[in-house]
């Protein structure tokens, strides 16, 4: 029989001396999860082959557009030439691996099987715990599959090759922006986990909200090539920070002196996602029904 778990607001308060210890705990959650992910190296190789296949098809299709289409200069007019676009495609395939496209299977199993109850017994804040887990889940594929992909993108024939960054300062800023993108992906993934705590909804709603992120990120089509009337909206919406902003800085289509507001925008969304994620989780945990027995 399902039973209700009631948590009072008191249990959320922490004594100051335990804060340092709990951060060590979150760090080890991250480390364990990362070490687990590293075991599947063959799977990473197989996964990389899919990304390469996709990149290859995309490059072929865009080359056809840039050469044979009716308005074949439309891309350059939008501020993205073919070699920049090819670089964008490769790097987008790498950064795409960081995007939350499904809920971490560990966390999902815990929610479905009712082990959330056990998670709540730990002397750790659930949001931070899952944040650390999601962070590891975001970064692992980037390291294995991502580095295979990068290697391939540097070895293919010249017409298909990845370009070096436009400027050194742009590159450094794109690294900074990449770190914000990592935080953005993690905070969004944790928000989705919090929404998933409502077990009776099933997979549908969480998939849809993750899918929206994927579409608006620019992985389907570089955001600069979206229709002109959408350009303002598309740059300000949260998911531009997934991969489009770091890549614009890398390619130099966003100049380094505009980086401050671009990265600031990313961090603003990170802040909002964490805030909403925590709020949703608190509300859900107040009346959570633990399944199983």
């Amino acid at each position: 029989m399902p039973y209700k778990l009631i948590r009072t607001s008191k249990s959320f308060m922490k004594k100051p001396e335990t804060i340092f210890h709990s951060y060590k705990a979150y760090l080890s959650v991250f480390r364990i999860k990362a070490a687990e992910g590293f075991q599947y190296r063959i799977a990473a190789l197989a996964g990389a082959s899919i990304s390469i296949f996709y990149a290859f098809i995309e490059i072929t299709v865009y080359r056809v557009f840039y050469r044979y289409a009716e308005h074949n200069l439309a891309g350059n007019m939008a501020g993205l030439n073919l070699s920049q676009l090819i670089t964008y495609i490769w790097l987008a395939q790498v950064l795409l691996l960081m995007q939350p496209m499904n809920i971490d299977s560990d966390i999902l199993n815990k929610i479905v099987s009712g082990d959330v109850g056990i998670e709540l017994c730990r002397p750790l804040d659930l949001y931070n715990h899952w944040f650390a887990k999601n962070a590891a889940g975001r970064i692992i594929p980037l390291i294995w599959r991502g580095s295979i992909l990068l290697l391939v993108s540097l070895l293919v024939p010249m017409n298909y090759r990845l370009l070096p960054p436009a400027t050194i300062s742009g590159f450094l800023l794109s690294l900074l922006s990449l770190f914000s993108a990592f935080l953005l992906c993690t905070s969004y993934a944790t928000l989705v986990c919090a929404v998933r705590l409502n077990i009776t909804w099933g997979e549908g709603p969480t998939y849809i909200i993750m899918l929206i992120g994927g579409i608006l990120s620019g992985a389907y089509l570089p955001l600069q090539l979206w229709p002109d009337f959408l350009q303002k909206f598309i740059l300000l919406q949260p998911f531009a920070g997934y991969l489009d902003i770091p890549l614009r800085l890398y390619l130099g289509t966003l100049s380094p002196n505009q980086a401050i507001w671009a990265i600031g925008l990313q961090l603003l969304w990170v802040f909002l996602f964490i805030l909403v994620g925590r709020m949703v989780m608190t509300i859900r945990l107040r009346k959570i029904i633990v399944q199983g027995g």
Partner: protein, 262 residues
């Protein structure tokens, strides 16, 4: 006959099982959104760049949606095979299937069924009709025959891909992600106009896995882009040929099965 009845029972059971979750209409919506948004990049590219010679957005979408519909049909009715390597071999559940005195393929094909997979089929058919309407193609009896046979051929082809994957999974146990090249990623290549498609891709998806035979050639025959009806009608035999090859792989796989679970 007996096995068809058994398959029907499996499907019914899984359908009712899936309906128990209150969220199933949302799952239908989810697949629908996936299908609708997948070609969104292509649509935006066409609106920015205009068409590529004779290749309009309707042409590309027609070929694309024929492949997607076929894939959707296979996914709706033979979903079990798609899950097979992950859910049955790795857990050792296949042992139990082997013990039952019924055909293996029927048991596995019926082991999963989700109503929301039909969303792909319905939206695919919707896009096919929209494209034909926009291109002002008047369908004759033979056109409709070609179209239906193409979809059946496509269904058999993609079922063959699932069988093929499962057959290979007996040897590899895991790490089968590359097989997506022949499933979800395969119809992405239809975004590229035929005459500009790299030869390797064209040959791979014509002579090995006949994805273009079940999408491009029938579409070309129906709309009169220069391929005869004979090529359009090849869809079904090509699908059956690939399916027979997959059955062979599957048989070899079953013979080499070693249980992994406990």
């Amino acid at each position: 006959m007996n096995s068809i009845r058994l398959y029907g029972k499996y499907i019914r059971m899984n359908l009712l099982c899936g309906m128990q979750y209150k969220g199933w209409p949302i799952m239908v919506l989810q697949v629908f959104i996936v299908v609708i948004t997948d070609p969104i990049g292509l649509i935006f590219m066409f609106s920015r760049f205009g068409s590529i010679g004779p290749w309009t957005i309707e042409r590309i979408l027609l070929i694309y949606s024929m492949a997607v519909t076929s894939f959707g049909l296979a996914e709706s009715f033979c979903r079990g095979f798609d899950y097979f390597p992950w859910k049955m071999i790795r857990t050792g559940d296949f042992d139990r299937v082997l013990l039952r005195p019924q055909p293996l393929t029927v048991q596995i094909a019926g082991s999963y069924f989700h109503i929301h997979r039909f969303a792909r089929v319905f939206s695919g058919i919707g896009v096919i009709s929209w494209c034909l309407f926009r291109m002002k193609i008047a369908l004759t009896a033979i056109d409709i025959l070609v179209l239906i046979l193409a979809l059946i051929g496509g269904f058999i082809t993609y079922t063959g891909v699932f069988l093929f994957t499962s057959g290979i999974a007996f040897f590899t146990i895991q790490g089968l992600d590359w097989i997506y090249i022949f499933t979800n990623a395969s119809y992405q290549i239809t975004r590229c106009p035929m005459e500009y498609m790299p030869r390797t891709l064209k040959y791979l998806f014509t002579f090995f896995m006949p994805m273009l035979v079940i999408s491009y050639y029938p579409a070309s025959a129906i709309c009169g882009w220069g391929d005869s009806y004979y090529k359009g009608l090849l869809a079904l035999p090509a699908g059956i040929a690939f399916f027979l090859f997959s059955i062979l792989v599957w048989r070899i796989g079953v013979r080499h099965y070693k249980s992994t679970g406990s």
